[in-house]
């Protein structure tokens, strides 16, 4: 894992991703008390940074592997990312989804022509079903966050951000499964002498915070957070990177997440999903520590169900 791997990853996925814009807002700078540079992965293809990791994972397969297809059991943005990247590369994508997954998520996968395989909603059933497809079809399993190709792919967002703004003091990301956080931490380590990486995490799913405290991968007992993308836990590939290179994880309340999301919608006029608002909520919570600093924030995604918004 070195700087050249990340550069090569970026070159590999470039034709399949957008170079997303970096936006700023005087009003949000005033509220946060610092200069914030928002890397808009909500404008990424299929609406989230996950496209980067999925594209890299599939592009890293051999021709023979591509022939047999890929399988994943994410029901969120990674499922759409795998479907779209597979479609662009002529690969079959099998997406295992719980029967009770929201229609809007199934529709997302269908838009990008992924093949949905339904199963009962427990994680055991999802894993068993994915396993079965691996065996039957010879498909390669892709993990949404705990796989080197995915981690490096996600890291290219921070790499682009630091190329454009080399003077950042900090980059904030959300932490769910840990792929984006680990990739960002590597990018900051490789491409900046001073930039530290901070994560925001909901109190309601604070497994990553507790993992850093205990030194081992913790799981969530409950995960009653509006930030539905952050309910998963870390893995053995990304946890060591996070331990080594991440400065701090700041936990935030549900109300803080919704307020941060509303501020970004109202002031920046862009759509971000709840998980995506978590780093800005974290920055606001600890704003005294970051006064007048240059802060990058990875706005991770913008896929929301417009008929079910958390605003009053």
């Amino acid at each position: 894992m070195n700087k050249e791997t990340l550069i090569a990853t970026h070159e590999r996925i470039k034709p399949f991703i957008h170079k997303t814009p970096v936006l700023t807002s005087e009003l949000l700078d005033e509220i946060a008390g610092c200069q914030v540079f928002f890397k808009c992965e909500n404008f990424q293809k299929m609406g989230a940074f996950k496209m980067r990791g999925a594209a890299n994972a599939i592009l890293s397969l051999s021709d023979e592997e591509r022939e047999r297809g890929v399988v994943t059991h994410s029901s969120g943005n990674f499922a759409q990312a795998v479907s779209l990247a597979s479609k662009k590369l002529g690969v079959n994508a099998y997406i295992v989804m719980p029967e009770n997954a929201p229609q809007v998520k199934k529709d997302g996968v269908k838009t990008y022509e992924g093949t949905i395989i339904e199963c009962p909603s427990t994680i055991q059933h999802r894993e068993a079903t994915a396993k079965k497809i691996q065996e039957e079809k010879g498909a390669t399993f892709l993990h949404p966050s705990n796989q080197d190709e995915v981690i490096f792919g996600q890291g290219t967002a921070a790499m682009e951000l630091l190329e454009e703004y080399p003077d950042l003091d900090y980059i904030f990301t959300p932490v769910g499964g840990g792929g984006l956080l680990a990739g960002t931490a590597l990018a900051a380590h490789f491409f900046s002498k001073k930039c530290k990486v901070i994560a925001g995490e909901p109190f309601e799913a604070d497994d990553a915070y507790r993992s850093l405290q205990s030194g081992k991968i913790e799981t969530n007992e409950t995960s009653e957070t509006v930030a539905d993308g952050l309910r998963t836990h870390l893995g053995d590939r990304n946890f060591p990177i996070i331990q080594k290179y991440v400065g701090k994880i700041i936990r935030v309340e549900e109300g803080e997440i919704i307020n941060a999301m509303k501020l970004i919608w109202e002031r920046m006029k862009i759509i971000v999903e709840p998980s995506c608002a978590v780093p800005f909520a974290a920055l606001q919570r600890d704003k005294e520590d970051y006064r007048n600093k240059n802060i990058g924030i990875i706005l991770s995604g913008g896929n929301v169900d417009l008929s079910n918004l958390p605003f009053n």
Copy 2:
């Protein structure tokens, strides 16, 4: 009214406005069957193109006039635009608003430190109250759409768009009071040999469409449209320009407006208000007429009440 006036207007207001970005979307191009360039005035200061006209109107006043302040009785985006432009120029802004105006609109004006004067909700009361302030304070009345300085200010959005994309075949705008449409038509006339200007208008408030038919300014009997920015009618300054330079007005159903708005939110991940979605709805309705053309759309604004959205 000539090209030089428009160039001078742009120079005058430049320090007070954003040069807004132009966004594109492969998915929306596919849906519309043409190449669409969205000029994002929803990212303009205070969230709408109205900032351009308001800034120009106030900058065109003498020192003495500025001293005495300005007054308007718009309750929408123009009120916020006048408040913000006045604040930046150290001018008092008196905003006449109906007592029953939504709190979100009053808050918008307060954010930018405009002085709200409440009155009963009829147009007669609003005009009388504004008149009284003109007399008492010597304040200059600013009209949201029927005033040359405002029309030219609004035209600078299309001017920027044509500077960046000189090859446009058409520019679409919404039509409410007619300031944006007239300004855009002048800009296209001055800055392009081939670009035609088309407006979208709700069937529920189709006064402009009927005005072009009858050759005189028509009003709306009712205005039950979700596009709350388009309920007003044309005026004697902008109507002749619209008659002379506008190609066509396309009327759209309420459902088409909401669908277009939803498409822009979901696919482009940006927030636009209902009025702002009308031109894209118009393009979709008559898409066969614009197949494979280069179309500019002025996305007019992004000020919505998030607790009262038209989605199911």
